[in-house]
Symmetry: C2
Subunit: 384 residues, 2 copies
């Protein structure tokens, strides 16, 4: 009964004081007075014993559909080691560590506590104090790595200095997090002016504030932009916090905000070899009504299709959002120099590039993507 | 005024018969009698001229936020070549091909027509007539490739025969579509029984019907499973169409269906090096209320957390769905032999493996993923 289906440890917040069964479950009272109900199927489902969980993978082999729906508790006690011990009417027995049990309790108070402990995004405007880290420290020291990754997660815009200016230097850095997310532009993409460009990114044009690849069902989570050479005139980078703009829009123009949250529009990325399309709102919300991400790249947008009645108002909302991305109160502008890189949350922070003059000097950036899943996994492993 | 921001061609469905401006837009009447309104900002936004669209990338350089909100039409005519020609009050002029314009019209009838033309999923049960293709034909012939990919998209379960039994043979096949989606299990993963398994997939256990990686925000779209050797006793593959089961559940137990659509639950994939978590419903719906995908892998599930009130009913709904995946009416079972492979829609079709006896003979499969975006892009390019 030792296997626990997790790699984390669960500190003892409060010991179990008493436990009693009720019709359909077990109610426990903790030493600090909290009362948590656990239903029989939940308890049976989460039995951590070596017959129910395969110790090598820590994955469940028991399936809750394989016991009777009305499985009953024959006896419930608190063991000498503080565990909750349940004896089932089919002969099976389960024991739950009180630290684990408290971390998974679903009484209203426990749920609210866990909700409140979720990481919060720090919204920012033009006065952002940019988190900057040293490349060597990030490569060698796990504490610095974790600090950087938390800034990427919560602030969404970071810079690294002291990066080697060799092409490909991004690869070992990205791998400090995990594997790189490939796209049709490659594993690494070279951002420079090209005669046969397959994206406006590969021209010398200015690029309006945008997220990369809103044309994909899952926009890339993190974007890296590494400066190898920047001797050309122009080409400054501007960033805005899309979450801050969405929040300002929600307050200043609630009807426009709702239109952008609720109206799916199509984005397209097409060249001679590919034809990507994705239909989603500019401001998608999650199931609790929070802004999940921003999707916006005007140059990758298909003609709007929606009820003709809605079209004029939608255009006003769309224009307003774009105009807000240009307001100085939101804009953070810097010139990236050789040996520096940006790492930002591509699903939250919009980025822009001023036009540059390719005749005035060389300009060569390399970029790549790593998804949010890999970032969050790496953070959890570093925090174990 | 020749650049068109697309690589598709748009056949002339019906010529333009007349055009007249109204307050805020232009109304066109087609030769077949349909009437389509187009608003001024929509028309200006979609101007296909070489100043508004960069011809090399076919991406927009014009930004609709850069013209006055009340931009006016000075004159609208139908040109000798059949195009709609708009003269704007700021001096710009735009001309729209009638085939393109009809394909993007947003009057109610045009929208309904386009909605009805979207590809439909063919739901299936145990009597499925399995689409089988020859590996050599798929590799060499684009028509066969397209036929196979349409079956993957619409049926969701296909088989290829005549596949070389060398390790890595999947790579050139997957690249007939696009690049491979990597995961923490690698670009290719080897499915065989391992002593130090980091997933129950790499044991000889039976695996209940599941989707791969519901622990990621975007579950992998297509899964390939390529059989190199299958000399072991047991290990048959079973598939069910998750969309067919969801539809049956919706009819047979609507309250259970709604609980599975509306209740986010957590999935977890954890080992010594990673810790992936994703919270989403088992049956996520899209914005029009259609089933978008199925997310289910019992062995990758975290303890349920939800209002205690809801827990007992949720368990009944979850058990019912799992019990339905086992009903013979839904199950399609086959043994895969060396030189054959499965390619299926991992976000729709659940797959299972019977336990096998590793002492009875060798069993070695290789697998990889390609995302739905890449599948749909490849289909659109092949259909150009």
């Amino acid at each position: 009964m030792n296997a626990i289906a997790d790699y984390r440890t669960f500190p003892l917040i409060s010991p179990l004081a008493s436990a009693a069964s009720f019709a359909g479950g077990v109610s426990v009272t903790w030493a600090d007075g909290r009362i948590s109900p656990f239903h029989n199927l939940w308890l049976r489902d989460n039995c951590p014993c070596g017959d129910c969980v395969y110790e090598v993978t820590r994955e469940q082999v028991f399936l809750v559909a394989d016991v009777p729906e009305d499985i009953q508790v024959q006896a419930v006690t608190i063991g000498d080691d503080g565990r909750l011990v349940v004896q089932w009417d089919d002969g099976h027995a389960s024991a739950y560590h009180p630290g684990w049990l408290r971390a998974h309790a679903y009484d209203a108070q426990s749920l609210a506590e866990r909700e409140a402990a979720r990481p919060h995004k720090h919204r920012w405007m033009q006065g952002l104090s940019l988190p900057v880290y040293d490349h060597g420290a990030v490569m060698q020291d796990d504490d610095t790595l974790l600090e950087w990754l938390l800034a990427v997660r919560d602030v969404g815009l970071t810079q690294l200095h002291g990066v080697p200016t060799e092409p490909g230097a991004l690869i070992p850095l990205a791998k400090r997090i995990s594997f790189i997310r490939e796209s049709n532009f490659g594993v690494l993409f070279d951002v420079r002016s090209k005669a046969d460009a397959d994206s406006n990114a590969y021209t010398a044009f200015n690029l309006p504030l945008h997220t990369d690849l809103p044309t994909r069902e899952l926009q890339p989570g993190l974007q890296f932009l590494h400066c190898l050479v920047n001797d050309a005139t122009g080409g400054n980078s501007t960033f805005v916090d899309g979450f801050a703009i969405a929040e300002a829009l929600r307050i200043e123009a609630p009807a426009a905000y709702r239109l952008l949250c609720e109206t799916p529009v199509e984005f397209r990325n097409k060249d001679r070899h590919s034809d990507y399309r994705c239909t989603a709102p500019v401001i998608p919300l999650d199931s609790s009504g929070e802004v999940r991400e921003i999707r916006l790249a005007n140059f990758l947008r298909a003609p709007f299709q929606m009820d003709a009645q809605r079209m004029p108002d939608y255009y006003l909302a769309y224009r307003r959002f774009i105009q807000m991305t240009r307001e100085p109160r939101f804009c953070f502008t810097r010139r990236l120099e050789a040996g520096q890189l940006w790492c930002f949350d591509n699903r939250r922070v919009l980025h822009a590039r001023d036009a540059f003059d390719p005749a005035s000097g060389d300009r060569h950036f390399q970029g790549c993507y790593v998804d949010r899943d890999e970032l969050l996994s790496r953070i959890l492993v570093l925090q174990r």
